[in-house]
Symmetry: C2
DNA sequence: TGTTAGCACTCTGTTTCCTTGAGTGCTAAA
DNA sequence: TTTAGCACTCAAGGAAACAGAGTGCTAACA
């Protein structure tokens, strides 16, 4: 168990290291005016903290640096409740002040402002299609063999896909199919569109359509990708300014990871509720071993829709970042919920 | 004017430097078996070539490195006609072999293969909407105040935008507007949609619609962004592997430039026909002073639709890159033209 | 018994000096 | 005109020296 004084010293050390990115020595700490005891005393305490694994040396005669265990302890026990500066609050509110109609825009703007306020990289997982439902399907012919299928969701989201029409399928067949779809699939969640279509429509289609088999193979490629959430970034290159990324090889690794949506996708699914912090090796990805990720969820009517994240060095400003993220998540939740209500009760 | 031998030496020097990224000395050149004269002779020639500005020293006793003027000369005069290896041809053809329906996919795949074959970064400017024409407009209501506007172009491209509907505008008004649009705007190029709508439809609308003014302001925000071409990338991080980008600050600058579509957009509009090479400072952008860009256009039925580009260090493999780019541009042109024909004559 | 001053020791980073090697330019001979 | 030879230059790399920040330990102190 840590003594009062050890807590105090650990806190000062981590705060200092976060600010300066330089190993902190006993003298640096003792020079602070809140500190009344001598550097020798601090040295003893530091040795104990090191034994317990909260801090480490970079070499035998260096100052101390927080270990991952140290950061973990700091985040879990040493942070005061979230507070935001008035400026930050103002910046965020000004974002939601202008009524943006498109969800996509709102999210893009959120990513932008997060990265600007923190100088880290922000990542946002787009709203889960999970709960958005189909409003309407349309098929618009382009040529003899091709047509565009357009899905409109109740959230205003539009998906489209070009398909090839087998020669044996006639225009009137397609019209019939679309009509049946709009009857049967309306208000079905996008994510289960494919399975519902296959189950529920099969019998109806068979009855009304001649070339059932051809139509079926045509529909087979449809609605496949609709459940992929989109990943948005803000300040992708911000994190390169951190001294942790002096080495171009690390930069390459990280940026390559950014390009792989599926990896990012996994990282952004938080395991707990609320604001979650993953520090250093707690992230599985090799490219992010020296990074921390803070995630928070946003909701629509109580249902989780996606998440916001900030990616910084393990030495990141946890307190401010967490406050900011929590605040923005709340604002996003209420903005989106409001929008959604106006759609739903219509 | 350069002598036969000077040409010969310059060619060897640049080829060598492109391969090794190391300054080339007189002995290195003389050791080549095609070279019959001594290193002393070469030293004299190198001095002359330096006086003429084709090569430079990195310091007073170093080997020589091509200058930008040297590269320019090399590209303009020393390259043999484009030839591709069988492997490259095969790789590219296999790309176009599988019938991809969506233009977007074709282009993304092209970007990918270009970057994989060259290990540089490829950039593709999406097909100009310039010539694509409106096939159909649809408005689908989402709530009392909002609706999605969907444009389908004859190329299969779909644009959508959420709009707010003023309370005074009724549903039947909107239906009327859409009908008029589909009558009057069909086959209008997307790029001139806005202006055509404002001119041609004004009178008709006034006649049929009560709240002409409200409808008008509603339409005012519409169709604004449709003429922005999209920029696609392949191997964004490839170029970071080049020794020219050891410095993270340069990396940051370059990647930031990538994020700014308008800048990239300008770079990719070639001034000449055919394959264009811009070397080092010939690029205006600060971030690309040590890079070269090779661009080529692709066409649909003879009309320029967009361009392909490869971004590498000034020390890039010009010959292979240019061959590859030209070849892919041709293939893309014919593939797209074919697709377009099948739409048009329908 | 906890705290502190003092001191020897350790390690990093920087500077300085030296050496090596690749390369040049010039001169004089072939 | 070409080439061999030679003096000279510069960058890169390594060894040595030094300064500075920091530690751990001991002994004295309150």
């Amino acid at each position: 168990m840590l003594t009062e004084r050890q807590l105090f010293i650990l806190q000062i050390l981590i705060d200092d290291y976060i600010r300066t990115a330089e190993a902190v020595g006993s003298r640096t700490i003792s020079k602070r005016k809140e500190v009344t005891f001598s550097s020798a005393t601090i040295r003893n305490e530091l040795a104990d903290l090191e034994d317990m694994g909260y801090i480490e040396k970079t070499h035998s005669s260096s100052g101390r640096v927080p270990s991952e265990k140290g950061y973990r302890f700091y985040v879990d026990n040493l942070l005061s409740p979230p507070v935001l500066s008035n400026n930050d609050v103002k910046d965020i509110h000004s974002l939601f002040a202008e009524k943006m109609v498109e969800v996509e825009k709102v999210i893009q703007q959120s990513a932008k402002i997060l990265s600007e306020l923190t100088q880290y990289t922000s990542i946002i997982l787009g709203p889960e299609v999970f709960e958005t439902k189909l409003r309407q399907v349309q098929i618009i012919p382009l040529s003899k063999e091709t047509a565009v299928v357009i899905l409109v969701a109740d959230s205003g989201h539009v998906e489209n896909q070009t398909i090839t029409i087998p020669p044996s399928v006639s225009m009137s067949d397609i019209e019939k199919v679309v009509n049946i779809m709009n009857e049967r699939l309306k208000d079905i969640p996008l994510v289960s569109l494919k399975s519902t279509m296959m189950q529920e429509m099969a019998t109806v289609l068979k009855k009304h359509i001649e070339n059932y088999n051809q139509v079926n193979t045509m529909l087979d490629n449809l609605f496949l990708y609709t459940n992929a959430e989109k990943v948005y970034y803000g300040g992708k290159t911000n994190i390169l300014a951190q001294p942790e990324f002096k080495d171009v090889e690390k930069v390459r690794l990280l940026l390559n990871t950014f390009e792989q949506d599926d990896l990012m996708y996994n990282i952004l699914r938080p395991e707990k509720k609320g604001i979650e912090v993953r520090i250093g090796q707690e992230n599985d990805l090799e490219a992010m071993q020296e990074c921390s990720i803070i995630t928070a969820d946003y909701f629509i009517e109580g249902k989780r829709m996606g998440s916001l994240a900030l990616l910084g060095p393990t030495r990141m400003e946890y307190h401010r970042s967490m406050s900011l993220l929590g605040f923005l998540a709340n604002d996003l939740t209420s903005t989106l919920t409001e929008r959604y209500r106006s759609f739903k009760h219509w």
